[in-house]
Each structure stands twice: as C-alpha cells, then as structure tokens.
C-alpha cells in the first residue's frame, strides 16, 4: 500500500516524457528518413543538398497551410476552403501589383483575403451554428470561383521587382525565408499549444465542447480564432508560392486542400478533434512532399502520386491506431 502510494507520487511528479508525448511524430520522422534513403538507393541524387532544398521549397507552402488547418482540426472542425483562399490570395495580390502598387500593400491586401474568408467561416460556424464542413464547402466554392473572376481566368505575372524577397530573401543570413517561416511558425504554434492556456483551449473544445463551455472556456472565441488563423496561414502560403514562381494562377491551390488535411492526419491529429500537434503537421507535410519528390525522381508517372500518398496516409493512420494501446 505504502509502496503503491510512493510509486504513484513518483510517477506524478515527473514531466511528460519526450518519447511519450511525441511518439507519433518520432515515428513519422523515422518513416521520412527511411523513405528518403529508399529513394536514395535508386537515385543517389535524391540525397544531394540540392534535392533537400527542392523538397523544402516544395514543402514550405504546404507546411504553413497545414499548421492552419491543424488548429481547426484540433477543435473538431474542418476547413475545406484553404486551397481556394490560397489561389484567390495569389490572384488578388498579382492583380493589385498590376495596378502599380508596391509589394507590401499588395501582400497586405492578399492577407486581407484570408482575414475576410476566415472571419466568414468563423462567424458562420460560431454565431450561426452551421456545420464546419458545410460552411467551408461554401467558402471553398465562392473563393475558388472568385479566383477566376478577378482576372477573368488569366494567369498573372508579378509586377513588383522586389517581391521575390518574401520567399527567397534571407532575413537571417544563410537561411532562406521560406525555411525560416516554416520553422518559426511551427515553433511558435507548438509552444502556444503546449505552454499557453489559450493553446490548451483548442484541445479542450475538440475533446468536449460541452465540458469546455461549462469549465469557462470561451468556446466560440476559440473556434472563431481557429478559422481565422487557418485562412490567414493559407493566404500566407499563397503569397509565398507566388513570390517563388512569380506568377499567380487561379488553380494554384486546387490540390493543396486535401494535402493539408492529409498532412494533419498523418501527423497524428484526429478529425474528431482533441489530438494533434504542430510538429506532427509539419512532418506530415514533409512526408507528402518527400513522397511526391521520390515519385518524380524515380520516374514513375506522376499520375501515381495520389495513390502513393493515399497509401502513405493509410499506413500512418494504421500505425497511429495500433501504437496507442
């Protein structure tokens, strides 16, 4: 009895073990390394520094988008509109630049797209009480069509000569901005989710909105901010992509929405809410990108990318399902 009490008190005082908290994340990290080594066995160039840079550049928009979607998924919701918001942001930014505006005001207008659509999503979900799937399906459709309307479907080059700096400049010398943004956003979000009271609210709302409400958690505000954050991140990812390829297209984000949701799920989040982490979402996005990169390098017809990604999701979810208990 006494020893039992002692062992309890000992167990209670230690912090969470890194292995326990980040079990899923570690498993995905290992899977990514294995995947890269596997591709490298066929194509040595896959393990070159140049290809790593390729992977990171290709992953950056997806990583940032996934962080946004993660927050919504944590609350038990879903955001289908991120791909359309991504595209529309690029189109609006490019259009405004074509009027002769500078980089900063154009980018700000682009982010405004995210703010507006995020607020619409958030309001319809919290104030009106509609289902997140329905709400974001609506904004997905509307933003998606607006992305064509603003330029009548034409793609648009970037006018401002300094806009490339957003993606490829080096705020910290030696580190490209797109890497910096991914790392900084992921670290900040992970810290907020673990170490800030309001970060825990996203989990609480996703776990049981009723219980969270009765405990004094501002459920509506938490949900609303998740949707705004998600759209803002999608907007930012859109800016980053436009800044990289210096061209905006109406369909740029079409495939990204499902990839972002997949990344979050691969990263250990439950679509029912309450579980998931920022690091997991980042690794999920990296995994998807590594798979696409590998498929390209090996020379498999790129039509297979979707199938390979789908199987990767299945494997990740199965591992998650059987590693818990």
């Amino acid at each position: 009895m006494n020893t039992e009490a002692q062992s309890i008190s000992r167990a209670l005082n230690i912090g969470p073990s890194i292995l326990g908290t980040y079990r899923t994340e570690i498993a995905i990290a290992i899977a990514i390394v294995v995947l890269m080594l596997g591709v490298g066995a066929f194509i040595p160039a896959a393990l070159s520094a140049g290809n790593f840079a390729n992977i990171l550049q290709a992953a950056a928009p997806l990583v940032i988008m996934s962080l946004g979607v993660l927050l919504v998924v944590l609350t038990g919701g879903i955001d289908l509109s991120v791909g359309s918001v991504f595209s529309l942001t690029g189109m609006v930014t490019a259009l405004i630049m074509s009027w002769g505006w500078g980089s900063v005001p154009s980018a700000a207008a682009g982010l405004g797209v995210g703010l507006i659509f995020g607020s619409i999503n958030g309001l319809l979900v919290t104030a009106v009480g509609l289902a997140p799937f329905v709400v974001t399906l609506i904004t997905y459709a509307v933003a998606g069509s607006l992305a064509f309307i603003v330029t009548n479907g034409r793609s648009m080059g970037i006018g401002a000569p300094d806009f490339w700096l957003l993606n490829s400049g080096q705020l910290i010398p030696g580190i490209a901005n797109y890497v910096l943004f991914c790392v900084a956003f992921a670290a900040l979000l992970e810290l907020a989710l673990r170490k800030m009271t309001f970060g825990r609210w996203f989990y609480a709302v996703g776990s049981s909105a009723n219980a969270a409400h009765l405990l004094g958690v501002p459920v509506k505000r938490t949900r609303f901010s998740a949707y705004v954050f998600s759209s803002l991140m999608a907007s930012f990812a859109g800016l980053l992509t436009v800044s990289y390829i210096l061209n905006a297209e109406s369909t740029a984000g079409a495939s990204l929405m499902l990839q972002a949701i997949a990344a979050v799920v691969i990263g250990g989040a439950s679509l029912f809410g309450g579980t998931g982490s920022a690091i997991g979402a980042v690794l999920g996005a990296l995994m998807i990108t590594v798979i696409q990169n590998g498929v390209n390098l090996i020379g498999i017809n790129s039509f297979w990318q979707g199938s390979v990604t789908g199987i990767a999701i299945l494997i990740a979810v199965l591992i998650d399902r059987f590693s818990h208990k």
């Binding site: 969470p16 004094g216 309450g274």
Partner: protein, 510 residues
C-alpha cells in the same frame, strides 16, 4: 433462427399452461453458472477465482467496490472478453442467441429512430432483408406489452431522442427481452432515475422475474435499493467471490460493507451543528421564495431532475428562461455565461460526466486545471502546475498512472473525483454539485462527503442536488425541496427535517 415474433408474447401465461417448450423443460436449471473464473490483463490479475450463478426467477444483487472485478466478469459472461481459467456455463444452448443481455448505464437508444425501430433493429434476419415498419412494430409492441402496456399502446412511433430516461431504460429492457435473453443484467439502472421512476422500474423487474422466470442481475451501490429489490447477493472483492448467493436478508448493511472491503463508517452526521457564520452571503430568489444562504452552508436540492434545474442553470451561467436569480453584495444576479460563473467563483460538477464533464482526450493535468487557469487568469502553463495537479490528485486518492494519462483510462469513481478536484483548494464562493456520488462505491462516497464538508468548512457554499433523499438528509444543513412539477415546495431547516417531511415536499417516496 426462430424468431421472437413467432413466439407467444406472454411467456407468463405460457408458464401456467406448462407448454413443453425448450425453455420450460430447463426451468429449474441454473441459467448462468460461473466457477473459479480467472482473468489476467498483462501482469495484472483481475479475477482470481470468481463464482457466480443465476437461477431462474431470481433477482440477484452483484456487489463489489470500484475495481473489484464485477465489470470484467460481466464482460466475460457476455462474450466480450476471453478468460484464462475456470468455467462459464449456460443453462440452455441456443446457437447464436444471446443468453445474457446487459442494460448499460449509458443507454443505447438511438435518438433518430422511433421506439419501434429501436427495438426492431436487432431483429433483421439478414443484411438485405427489406425493412418492414409493421414487423418492427409487432416485435416492439409484443416485447413492450410485457413490461409497460401503456407505453406499447401509445408511444411506438415516438422518436428515441424524445423518450425520458426511464422510458429509454424500459425500451432497452424490452429490446433485451425481445431477443429471448434469459438473464437480464442491469448496471446501475437507477443512476439516472428519480425515486418515483425507480419504484416503477422495480415493480416491472419484480413482475418480470416472477412471471417469465428470467434471471435478473442488479449491479448497484445503493444499499437501500438492493434490499428493496433483490433476493440474494453475491459480493466480489479483489477478484474473488467472498459472498456467494446468500439471501440478502441474512446480511446486515455493515456486514455487506465489510465484505466489500471498505471500512464501515459511522454516520458522521453534521448534527454537531457546525458553526456557521451568521452573515448572509447571498440570497437565492426564485418564484415565490427568497432563501438567504450563509457562508459555508451545505444546501441540498431535493426532487426530480426538472425541479432544481432552473436554480442550477442560473448559478452556472446558463440561465435562459430560469426564474431564479441571486441577490448579494458582489454577486452577479444572473451570470451571463459559464465563464462569468467561473470568474465569480462559482464551481460546477456536472451530473452528466460523460458528455459535459471529462475532456476525454486531454491529459489529467488539463482536465483538473482548466477552470483554475481561467479563474486565476493564468496565461502560461508553468512547470509548477505539475506539482499542483499531483497534489490535488493525491489528496483525492485518485488512482492514476501519471498526470499525463487521459481520463478514459480511469474508472467512473475516479473520473468523478477528477471533476471534484477541479474546484478543490481554490478560493471559491460556491460549488454546485449534481449527484456527485452517482455510480461510485460506498468507500468513495464517504470520501466525497468528507471532501465536500471540508470545502464547506473553509467557507464555500455548497449547493448539492441529489435524488437520494437519505444522502441529502445526512449531509446537508438545509434542504430546498422541489415537487415533481418543478415547483419549489420550500426549505427545510436542519432541525426539522426527516425523510417523511422530505417525501411529502417532493411528492416522491423517500
């Protein structure tokens, strides 16, 4: 597979006619017999040799503390779990028909199906069989008319979600009977029922046992109900049967508690009139009543769930159309939201643990500290919270592996303690509790009583709603009674209250 609808619905009459069905010839035979049952989960031995047998027509109480092994044994009998040693035998072998049906604490009535569909749904003969509403209704009305002819006649087309808890329970029992179950196992069936509904359920169960000869196993922590309903009792303790099917009249309450392995507490009543401050802290204002409440008072709310719900919803910040309000210096008259209640120092332990209580996916530390962070406006999660949570968990004696595990790994009693831990050791003005002892064993009940008293002694006002009048009479300084229509029928002072007076005021048998 022969079907229920082809069987004679009135099995009771069939008994009198002594038709020679397979059921009848087995009549004196033991329905379920468990001998020397053993079960191990990993390194933990849960069952070390359990004996248990149910006879036809018997109402059998199955008792044991939280974690004694009752649920494991039940899950083995129903085939959910395999076992490592011993035997499980059934009186009649009938292919794939379940012999034992369990009516769970969490009712499994589907809200979007009608009552008839809820019962008929288990009778589909094959996957592709076209659905027949008439067949479902036939099955349902035959099963129901055994138990509650009124419900069978009036409510077949009502939606599952519109049924009261009592009706939902009746539907579950009917569903179990309709599959031809011979043993009905009820896991704390009265936990959500009012006293009147409990009486009705007991009448139904007794009639069923007598007329149809099925065996009924009753799992409960409420001693009074066990005595009222059951013939014999089996007590399990630490994975062993310590009392095997003894007539319940042979055992005193104290003996039962001792067999369950819990110290028999004396009724440490609050008779020793705890010194309370004379200062009226807050006045509860309701339709036709104003009740001044002193600091450190334990105020009981008696009556059916609808009665005190108005007062409770005002207190916890979900006032809506409630006619109650508060009057007192520094008290909000009607908190506008739960967050306002928390900020004003009003804590709440819900009676709906599963849906409104625990945050199932979150570690225990978040579950315990969620409101504290809000009340104390903590922005960051500091390392010191670990020790804080550890202390709370230890004070309450919650059995957990780690403060990082999730509540779904805990037993019901331990989850209940977690909900109370949320409000412990925090300067609160009031704590509202809904049936905090529901579904917990006697030992835990005592611990909860002691905790609540301690909170009250530190000056917190306790508002305690319970459908167990005896409990209220034991714990509370004052009791506010509500009748079955939800009207407040007046306060009882400690000096004057007793069971009869309370039964009178609530309109329900004590």
């Amino acid at each position: 597979m022969s079907d229920w609808e082809e069987r004679d619905p009135d099995a009771g009459r069939r008994n009198e006619n002594c038709t020679a069905s397979a059921n009848e010839s087995n009549r004196p035979q033991t329905l379920v017999s468990v001998r020397g049952l053993q079960k191990q989960f990993g390194a933990t031995v849960v069952l070390k040799g359990v004996d248990f047998a149910v006879q036809p027509g018997q109402i059998h109480a199955l008792l044991g503390g939280n974690g004694a092994g009752k649920s494991t044994m039940i899950r083995i009998i129903t085939g959910d779990l395999t076992y490592d040693g011993g035997t499980v035998e059934f009186g009649s072998k009938r292919g794939d028909r379940p012999v034992v049906a369990v009516v769970h604490q969490e009712l499994a009535v589907l809200p979007h199906l009608t009552l008839a569909e809820n019962i008929g749904i288990v009778h589909a003969r094959s996957f592709i069989e076209p659905y027949s509403a008439r067949r479902a209704e036939n099955i349902a009305s035959k099963a129901l008319s055994l138990i509650d002819p009124h419900l069978a006649a009036t409510s077949l087309s009502r939606m599952g979600g519109d049924l009261t808890l009592h009706e939902a329970q009746i539907v579950e029992i009917a569903r179990a009977l309709s599959t031809g179950a011979e043993v009905l196992l009820l896991d704390e069936p009265t936990a959500n029922l009012t006293v009147a509904e409990t009486e009705r359920l007991f009448a139904v169960l007794q009639r069923l046992a007598q007329e149809t000869g099925i065996g009924i196993v009753f799992v409960s922590h409420r001693m009074k109900e066990i005595r009222q309903l059951c013939d014999v009792c089996t007590i399990i303790r630490d994975g062993r049967t310590v009392v095997n099917a003894r007539p319940i009249a042979d055992l005193t309450d104290a003996e039962i508690v001792r067999h369950m392995g819990q110290p028999a507490h004396r009724n440490s009543n609050s008779e020793a009139a705890r010194t309370r401050s004379d200062h009226v802290e807050v006045t509860l204002v309701g339709p036709g009543i104003e009740l001044p409440v002193h600091l450190g008072t334990i105020l009981g709310l008696a009556g059916s769930p609808d009665g005190p719900s108005g007062l409770i919803s005002t207190l916890i910040g979900k006032a809506g159309t409630s006619q109650w309000s508060l009057k007192g210096e520094g008290w909000p008259s009607r908190p506008t939201a739960p967050i306002a209640s928390v900020r004003n120092g009003i804590g709440y332990v819900t009676g709906d643990r599963a849906h409104k209580g625990v945050l199932a996916q979150l570690p225990i530390i978040d579950n315990v500290l969620a409101s504290r962070r809000i009340r104390e406006k903590r922005r960051y999660i500091s390392r010191s919270e670990r020790a804080e949570c550890g202390d709370l968990v230890r004070t309450l004696g919650v059995k957990v592996d780690s403060i990082w595990s999730v509540p779904s790994t805990l037993s019901g009693g331990n989850q209940q303690k977690l909900l109370i831990a949320r409000w412990l050791g925090m300067p609160l003005r009031m704590v509202v509790l809904e049936e905090p002892t529901r579904g917990v064993d006697i030992g835990t009940k005592r611990e909860i009583y002691a905790l609540i008293r301690k909170m009250a002694d530190s000056g917190t006002i306790i508002v305690w709603w319970s459908t167990e009048n005896v409990e209220l009479l034991e714990i509370c300084d004052e009791i506010l009674a509500f009748d079955t229509d939800g009207r407040c029928t007046g306060p009882l002072a400690h000096e004057t209250y007793n069971e009869d007076a309370l039964a009178d005021l609530t309109g329900m048998a004590a």
